[in-house]
Symmetry: C2
Subunit: 220 residues, 2 copies
């Protein structure tokens, strides 16, 4: 039974999960909210508040049981249930994602890739085959798929989305540089790489100007 | 001269830039805040407020000059100045990024890749060579580099960061699953792919439970 949890808390869960995974690798069995806070560079009270949303897994004076907390947050994140993923667009990025072993560790199984390029159709990327995009409907009608990943040019992404929706796909991991034309009943998580890089360069420039301004002042 | 602009506005600039690029491709010369708002699915007043931060490029009753606004936001984002980027980690993801032509269109030039794997050292990825990670300091001492991209396992990322900082790198585009141990004087933009995927699966599960809850209620 999950109660309504704020988006800010949800967005922090994967980070908790990552730190707890690290602690498990280090064979740490339990940790206080203070020690966890120090590692994560947040306040202990934020940790306690966040984890209270889930009934609170800690005990006064004992701290958190790392393995238990890891498993519980994993469950909340849908890890350890297998989540079936397809990748539409088997170019460099699509292939890189299919080759990424960390997804599998977290329960995300890349089942198939799709492309229009005869040069890649039929190829095997790690454990997954690249199918012709023509066969998308045929594949989706006979295989359970939870998430469709879009790693294809924006024009093609716009074309393929209605086809995915018609096949019942309701979750899209979108790398195409486009805001997808979907309704509220479809979950979309965007990864816009160029935009992330542009934010970095914006901050670089702003920093530089600020420094020049300060240097100018000092020179007065 | 740039005044202090909120992080929320900055985070929206790349999206404005993308829509304006699309308009230019469609040969649209000017657009009203209302029409732009409709396309971007935001309110016209938000658009006017956001763009007012930059002196406001619009004119009453005329709308925005698309080319001018595109150029101005591009300047703010540091596009059209060449920004020199290196990629540390020439695995699948690093190579995919080096192969991505869109970065170049936005002024980000991938100058070189670095890796420890003899199988990739010396290879050419699009226009960039893969160097041995041993030669990082040598390369950085003789080439201007603005941004270092980290596409390598987290243990190696933690090792390489102090070396980058010692060479004067102050902006890092981080794909490694680790919060980098850097001070406030270093700009970091994180792209944590697994965490993005986990947020999607969390929302999927929450949605499913909500639907089951509602279905249960109706059944009463």
């Amino acid at each position: 039974m999950k109660k309504k949890i704020s988006k800010a808390v949800i967005s922090r869960l994967p980070r908790y999960y990552r730190y707890l995974s690290d602690l498990m690798e280090e064979n740490v069995d339990r940790i206080s909210s203070n020690d966890l806070a120090k590692r994560m560079k947040v306040t202990a009270s934020q940790i306690r508040q966040d984890l209270n949303n889930f009934g609170g897994f800690g005990q006064q004076g004992y701290g958190y049981n790392v393995g238990h907390l890891h498993a519980e947050i994993g469950k909340l994140l849908g890890i350890h249930t297998h989540i079936n993923v397809v990748i539409i667009g088997a170019g460099h990025l699509g292939q890189a994602l299919a080759n990424y072993q960390n997804f599998e560790k977290r329960g995300f199984i890349i089942r198939a890739l799709f492309d229009v390029d005869p040069a890649v159709i039929g190829k095997k990327i790690r454990n997954s085959e690249v199918y012709s995009l023509k066969d998308l409907e045929k594949y989706l009608s006979s295989h359970p798929v939870d998430i469709a990943t879009l790693t294809l040019p924006k024009e093609r992404a716009a074309e393929v989305v209605p086809r995915l929706l018609a096949c019942g796909i309701r979750a899209i991991w979108n790398f195409a540089h486009i805001d997808l034309p979907v309704g509220d009943d479809v979950l979309v998580e965007n990864v816009h790489l160029s935009e992330s890089l542009m934010q970095l360069s914006y901050r670089m420039l702003a920093d530089k100007e600020e420094k020049e301004r300060l240097a100018g002042k000092t020179g007065d």
